[in-house]
Symmetry: C2
Subunit: 118 residues, 2 copies
DNA sequence: CTGCGCATGTGATATTATAACATAACGTAG
DNA sequence: CTACGTTATGTTATAATATCACATGCGCAG
């Protein structure tokens, strides 16, 4: 965990909601000035590899993860109004899987309204 | 259903697997010449609105849909080796949903190996 | 010291998607 | 028929997202 990566993680955590790569980049630039797209994408890739971040596929955005994913992938509940994300896991085995399909990675994202915003 | 939209749908069906918007565009151009990005994106938006196509979020690609989605969203099983997509539905209500969360739309994509490619 | 592996810096470019405005096509009220 | 509103399409440009390719720095094994 290098300073650069730690910094990116800190920004993700601070955001507290899905944040776009280029918004991260802007924040980094405002402190560092030298940050460029590969800087942030590399750090995000690293953080995702080690399980400290997720990409929210349908938003092209990224979030920090403080969960344990031993038991399976993340399941995200994303409020379209306030932007909050509630991450759950232990996402169950796909029951409708075709015969013989071997799942390596699942993307599960639910979009809607959180309890507060209904 | 206009000729343009029908043509885009036909190309999606013919592809038989997830296809990128700009690949569609290339195919359209090879026949029409005048096609441009908004042409294809508008048609895709229309087809998705009426339920004849889906976006595969984690691939930024699109597929035709011949299913009935009365009972819920699509659940995609995508083979990383051969590119085939098996679409299921009746995807179950999220069981881990936070209290009070009201889901409007779900993205469920499983990546792995299909039976043939294992 | 030297060579190697990995992280980062840097400039350019590729890929994906939308904005903004113009034109056409089509039905309907008058 | 003509004028108008609405929807679809054409066209130009640009925004937003992501990667490539190559250079540099940095820590450590030999
Ligand atoms: Zn997580
Ligand atoms: Zn909310
Ligand atoms: Zn479908
Ligand atoms: Zn396969």
């Amino acid at each position: 965990m290098t300073p650069l990566r730690r910094n990116v993680l800190a920004l993700l955590v601070r955001a507290g909601e899905p944040i776009k790569a280029y918004d991260l980049l802007d924040q980094m630039r405002s402190e560092d000035g030298s940050a460029k797209p590969p800087t942030v994408y590399r750090s995000l890739d690293f953080l995702m590899d080690v399980g400290l971040a997720h990409k929210v596929e349908a938003l092209n955005a990224y979030i920090a993860c403080a969960h344990c994913h031993d038991k399976g992938g993340a399941e995200l509940y994303i409020c379209g109004k306030c932007g909050s994300v509630d991450e759950r896991h232990g996402a169950p085995e796909p029951r409708n899987a075709p015969d013989g399909f071997e799942t390596e990675r699942s993307v599960v994202e639910h979009y809607g309204l959180c309890a507060k915003c209904r």
